[in-house]
Subunit: 294 residues, 2 copies
């Protein structure tokens, strides 16, 4: 016995195409629902992202970095720890909202969970959390992608109603591989061509393949929207819609780039079966525990 | 019978070390010797580079790009044409001042050769010329290096008395792999460790290896000087000292990056035997025809 879900965002089929996003607004709450003001909410709906200075204080940044070091040491061979293919240096630690009480407390704050609730217009839960570390002197690039495309195809996230917060743990310069977003691209869903290989996540966390848009779609979106590079000192917060087309270049400077990455999903958008994969990914990538953050 | 030359900048030895540059000023001419004003000359001495808007007009940019297309087509297997390892797309065409009358005329202008003469304080000749093309969607990075280190070790350039002009043939954004320079780094010569392999240039044009500074030196220089990213619209000119520590990141945007690159050497600094290689590189990489540009 299986339930059928309406697929508003078909992907991983035979051909690539651009689907306008019509029914799912990026912003559902109003000024009375949380910390963001009217201007910020309007800009978020238009550009798909909002930068907030000092979402984490110096002390908080230092504490979160200490948590990364602790977890790196404690979890040597845990599958929630992803390492650089060449150097074995840690690249990401997942599930940090469960592994660290400090981070769990950080998330509960009104400036964090409160903003997520305001943007998504409902209670929220953590779909995924991680700390990313991009080393200097050759940290890899992340190619262009929409997070939602993966979460829809491989995790079964039904609608575009999730928002991510990236908290810079190091200074993000224009030269050390900061996040690039095509502003406004969140309004278009790129339905990607190609079938999802089994256990795709094991390789895709190191280099994205299935779910990667083709050159023509990327050129169309970049010509229409341009490319913004998001820089700022450690502690800067960047809220961005789950369907933003984004990427980051490699980093050959001496300065590593590190961030805390939190994905909030609306409790009204909880996961169903994957829309374009045989099995759902593990819980640390797409959580099926949707207790609201309180 | 062999002549012995004094080696002011020993390199490719057993250990890496930083040698302060004392005897070779970056700027030798004054305000009466050419187009640059006093402020520009002082800044060039301090930072090691000078950006000039619109050194090439729109028409000139278009003509130079047409020359690249022509040469790419005419010189399929010529060793002066370097291609991307993966895609076979053209990455550089060398010797363009000899292959193209249009470019030779462009170089003779006072805004070009006149500035080179002013900076170097003498007549100048072309040590090397090329057009570089860095494709979008994955153009490679160029790792940190000093051009002079290579020209000294592998071409036999005695002193630091050469200057390069990069003319942007496409818009250089902060996100499509523009040139990065550590401003002021030209005052320090990084004596690199390691022997030069035979025919090093055949691989080093695709990925730099011998003559590459180590992490510690790069961190020291970057911490002291910072990193400037040089951006600007097509036609922008960038003069930079031959000993600047520079690099460029990979380019995953849809926008290719292309430039005309001209190296002027003082006629009083003509090549001798290589200081750290068995054979000198071919003439298209380090010219031994030092007719002054007139």
């Amino acid at each position: 016995m299986s339930t059928t879900y309406n697929d508003y965002y078909p992907t991983r089929g035979r051909t690539e195409r651009l689907i306008p996003r019509t029914d799912d607004p990026a912003v559902r709450g109003g000024v009375d629902d949380g910390p963001l003001d009217a201007e910020q909410l309007t800009a978020h709906e238009e550009k798909g992202y909002t930068q907030i200075p000092a979402v984490a204080s110096r002390t908080q940044v230092a504490e979160i970095k200490r948590e990364l070091e602790r977890l790196d040491g404690e979890l040597r061979d845990d599958e929630r720890v992803i390492r650089e293919p060449a150097s074995d240096e840690v690249r990401s630690v997942f599930d940090v909202h469960r592994l660290s009480d400090y981070i769990a407390d950080f998330i509960r704050r009104d400036e964090v969970a409160g903003v997520a609730r305001q943007i998504l217009g409902s209670d929220v839960y953590i779909h995924q959390s991680r700390i990313n570390f991009k080393p200097g002197f050759g940290g890899n690039s992340f190619y262009w992608h929409s997070d939602f495309e993966t979460w829809h195809a491989e995790d079964g996230m039904p609608r575009i109603r999730a928002v991510s917060l990236s908290v810079a743990l190091t200074d993000n310069h224009d030269h050390n591989g900061p996040l690039m977003i095509m502003p406004g691209s969140h309004r278009t869903f790129v339905s990607c061509a190609g079938e999802t290989p089994e256990d795709n996540y094991k390789s895709s966390l190191k280099a994205q393949e299935a779910g990667t848009p083709g050159h023509e779609s990327l050129r169309t979106l970049a010509d229409e929207h341009g490319i913004d590079q998001l820089t700022g000192p450690a502690g800067t917060g960047l809220w961005f819609d789950s369907n933003c087309m984004h990427a980051s270049a490699g980093n050959i400077t001496p300065y590593p780039r590190s961030n805390l990455f939190l994905v909030f999903n609306s409790v009204d958008n909880a996961l169903v079966e994957p829309f374009a994969a045989v099995d759902a990914r593990p819980d640390f990538l797409g959580s099926r525990h949707w207790e609201p953050v309180k």
